[in-house]
Amino acid sequence: MTNALSKLLETRDWLMADGATGTNLFNMGLSSGDAPEMWNIEHPDRIKKLYKFAVDNGSDIFLTNSFGGNSSRLKLHDAGHRAREISRVAAELGRDVADAADRPVIVAGSVGPTGDIMEPVGSLSHADAVEIFHEQAEGLKEGGADVLWLETISAPEEYRAAAEAFALADMPWCGTMSFDTAGRTMMGVTSADMVQLVQSLPNPPLAFGANCGTGAADLLRTVLGFSAQGVEIPIIAKGNAGIPKYVDGHIHYDGTPDLMADYAVMARDCGATIIGGCCGTMPEHLHAMREALETRPRGPRPTLDKITAALGAFSSASDGTGDDNPPARERRRSRRRV
């Protein structure tokens, strides 16, 4: 399939994605609790400004302001019926900004989780999840997104449902999960599990990886876990700029631009092809990351010690891969399973 992202991936051996959406919008006056996606309609100028932050500071790819733009999330703001429209406008604004740039820039239509737990543990059916994702995918496609970009997913069932929806929309896609619980996703998926999941899909993503989660160090451990599987699909690293702190009434992430520059170069050495930030990654961080990626040489795969020395400690001793897992509970007797 020919599309703008796969073309760019053919000509470059690394690409830079964007940084934070929420953190930047707060700085423009978004209040806590309001849906950032409504600003696509109410303040299109601010959303374009957000996209321009990324383009002007070296991003090759930026994500649209549609993370919470599925009907399941928007219904909370009484806008569930507007999912397709809000996503379409998010992409249209992105198209305007990307087309005005003096180099190829990819508009990636952001798709976040539904917020519901899927069957059998939860109540959301596969069919309903596909329908929710499909509606948003069609909106993003209409608005001119080059690719769809699934992010912050924790359940494999939800990742699969979104993949199926993107096939229905006939769109190329990328998809990242969030590894925030002892090196796994909230639902217990390890980096190795995700590689298997991605490779088992009938329409695999153009690139896959990790976003958000805990700090930048944890994220790179996950990327090392991906690349250890010898996977050929390009890997995405979108880590947070440190951890959030509350300073003078605002959330502030403690990762400096220098730290994120180190993170970006190390992410590439860990095997990532598409490198960006997530929460707390501001224009100045992106600027430093781009400069580092362009000027610093590639190095060997960093060891875990080197990662923690540069970026801080991991949030857990193990990430569920390898042999140092905590032991599973011994049952007294095996029960016959029905």
Binding site: S32, G33, I117, G188, P244, C279
Partner: protein, 233 residues
Amino acid sequence: MSEEEDDIILSELDDEELVQQMFDDLYDGLKEEIEEGVNILLERGWQPYRVLTEALVGGMTIVGNDFRDGILFVPEVLLAANAMKGGMAILKPLLAETGAPRMGSMVIGTVKGDIHDIGKNLVSMMMEGAGFEVVDLGINNPVESYLEALEEHKPDILGMSALLTTTMPYMKVVIDTMIEQGLRDDYIVLVGGAPLNEEFGKAIGADAYCRDAAVAVETAKDFVARKHNQMNA
């Protein structure tokens, strides 16, 4: 058939073995088996409170510890909590009748703008699993709904949850309003959610940040015990 040799007949186990088996069954999320086990213990003359604390709370403590230690994850814990709920449904009316001691109570909800309730539900279930009474306000709660619930239920604890960096600052809005209205010191305020950390909890004026549902239960027990000590002092 050899399969039948593996099959466990709960009613044939003695009390101690039965409780041990219920720990395993809770761990494996087997709701019907837990309901059966609760009924057997009650038939054998156990007090409802003893069934709750020794069999159910004991079993959920193991689940909670393994969740804390990264051995179990959300899907398994939800299944375990569901099994626990089956047992609780039998015990609840009996506990009220027998005037069993109360562990404490909590009002909990996800803050305004946030529809994520997975973590909050886990805390809710694990708190119930530890014997607390829980009033769950659901998702997307403005400060008014927290205050109304505090007024109505007079809980020991207020719990707030947020998954998004865009919604976590709202916790401070709630706490600041409680301070303004002179209510803050009447309650233990616990906060949690993926993007939070201890420093954030302190900065917004919460009593504690709880990393996960298991920690929430331990923290709640701790604070409630301290609160009761203070009241008796």
